[in-house]
């Protein structure tokens, strides 16, 4: 039967794909083991090669990571069980929805600047997550969303995040690929380009969320001069003062990373947020204990945190 043939063909294609990936994985594993096998298991005299499988000088970092991971996983499981997890109100994140509404009323676009760093910066990853949520919001109201980019590597990620946001809102037809633009990889050329967009398109809201450097004040001040509502957020501490003075709302440090959980209200993400909050409480306790002990010249506790 034709349907059977089709299913068999599809199954065969899937089998061939899995076989190809398995083959690639075997090759990769074989090459890796060959590299490892080239090293003698016994250190040769005068050799500078290291054959240890764990750096014991970093066990304190490893233990800290394990504790943080445990806390995050624990609270994710708690969230999955349906426990209600409280997260305090973050004015900047509430303002995003307000900004989208304002832009819709005014019939003006929203400008989303995801920072100037590449995808290897976790702030850019967090910004892409927020972009997806913002895209879902604006798709419902048919508000144009302009996303200027500094790094070409971020371009396909931003396109996909916005497209998926529009699709999740049931508006794939409203997605405009040309609104996600690579400007320039030069910092101030990028700032000049974004300023030009602000002054020409006159967005009603500017969302400056990600990793920023010296261009932060140039962007924020130009945005202020156009009368747009501005929500900024970065974990780059040296730029926070500029955003605080020039923007209406500022997300400080970890509030940027909390945004994905806050906007989506997804239990797993809220659980992860709770876990990192408890980890912060442990660090706070360690700081207090360490400060008290050091006041009495007891330094073993402080030395435990030293990383060679």
């Amino acid at each position: 039967m034709k349907v059977d043939d089709y299913l068999v063909r599809r199954g065969l294609r899937k089998f061939k794909r899995i076989r190809a990936w398995a083959f690639a994985a075997v090759i990769w594993l074989w090459q890796s083991l060959s590299v490892l096998a080239q090293e003698s298991p016994l250190p040769q005299s005068g050799s500078t090669s290291d054959f240890r499988w764990f750096d014991t000088h970093r066990w304190n970092v490893f233990l800290a990571l394990v504790i943080i991971f445990f806390l995050i996983i624990y609270f994710i499981e708690k969230a999955k069980q349906g426990k209600n997890l409280f997260v305090r109100r973050i004015a900047g994140l509430d303002a995003i929805e307000e900004a989208v509404g304002r832009a819709t009323e005014m019939g003006k676009p929203i400008l989303y600047v995801p920072g100037i760093d590449d995808m290897n910066n976790i702030q850019t990853v967090a910004s892409m997550i927020i972009l997806g949520n913002v895209a879902r919001m604006v798709a419902q109201y048919d508000t144009p969303l302009i996303v200027p980019l500094r790094m070409p590597f971020v371009l396909p990620v931003a396109e996909e995040a916005v497209k998926q946001g529009y699709m999740a809102a049931g508006r794939p037809d409203a997605f405009q690929k040309d609104n996600i633009r690579f400007i320039s990889d030069e910092q101030f050329a990028y700032a000049a380009g974004v300023n030009g967009i602000m002054l020409r398109e006159r967005p009603a809201a500017n969302l400056l969320l990600g990793s920023f450097f010296a261009e932060s004040l140039v962007l924020a001040e130009t945005g202020f001069s156009t009368g747009a509502i501005q929500v900024a957020g970065t974990a780059n501490i040296h730029q926070l003062p500029f955003f605080v003075v020039a923007c209406d709302y500022t997300l400080i440090g970890e509030e940027l990373f909390a945004a994905s959980a806050y906007l989506s209200k997804e239990p797993k993400l809220l659980g992860a947020l709770k876990g990192s909050d408890y980890a912060k409480a442990i660090i706070l306790l360690a700081l207090i204990i360490g400060a008290i002990l050091m006041s009495f010249n007891i330094d073993w506790f402080k030395n435990w945190f030293f990383v060679e």
Binding site: D50, P152, L155, V218, V245, E254
Partner: protein
């Protein structure tokens, strides 16, 4: 497989580089080194993507006859001219590329950076109004640090710079470290979520 493959790659790559921090075995480090080499190549290729996007978006706007098409033409001409000049005549000192870099690009970049001086003055004038106790603290600290970190501060009071350094080294640093710790934890949490596949929005999947 369209959903699973990116997640598997993310998981393997993420755990590999976390493990690289803890495993000093030279064979393992060599593997990490070769992966780092691939990363450099992939990042370099992404610039082709960027140039293609710039060309496509701006050519579209020019063809549609947008009101700023003159600037878009200049943008494309400059982009291709500098690329061709660099490839054909090289980028060493004395070349065409080098001349445009030093005499056009360098002053333009410096000008954009210099705008910050004007913008900070207007932002400070607007934002440092003592409307509350926190605003008063902000304004007073900003003024003290601003004056203390230039020679005129020492001319007013010889220990002004020491006092300003104390503000930078003690209360400012304390606040900064607190934000840094919070941001680092947020980064670890986000990284874990991405590696474990809990967070998929950046891959375009919910």
């Amino acid at each position: 497989m369209r959903k699973e493959v990116p997640l598997i790659i993310t998981f393997l790559a993420g755990t590999f580089f976390i493990a690289d921090y803890f495993i000093p075995h030279s064979g393992f480090s060599k593997m990490a080194e070769s992966v780092n080499g691939w990363t450099i190549i992939v990042i370099a290729f992404s610039y082709i993507l960027g140039v293609a996007n710039v060309a496509r978006v701006n050519l579209d706007q020019i063809q549609k006859g947008s009101k700023d098409k003159f600037y878009k033409i200049i943008l494309l001409v400059c982009l291709f001219f500098m690329s061709i000049a660099g490839i054909v005549w090289g980028i060493q000192g004395g070349s065409v590329f080098d001349w445009f870099f030093l005499n056009v690009y360098y002053p333009m970049q410096s000008t954009m950076f210099a705008l910050l001086a004007f913008y900070i003055a207007s932002a400070a004038f607007r934002a440092f109004r003592i409307r509350s106790i926190q605003a008063a603290l902000l304004a007073i600290t900003a003024v003290l640090v601003m004056i203390g970190r230039v020679p005129v501060g020492e001319a007013i009071w010889k220990d002004f710079s020491i006092f300003s350094e104390w503000i930078m080294n003690v209360p400012q640093l304390a606040g900064k470290r607190a934000i840094l710790i919070g941001a680092a934890l947020g980064a670890i949490s986000t990284g874990l979520k991405v590696i474990a596949g809990l967070e998929r929005t950046h891959l375009g999947q919910d």
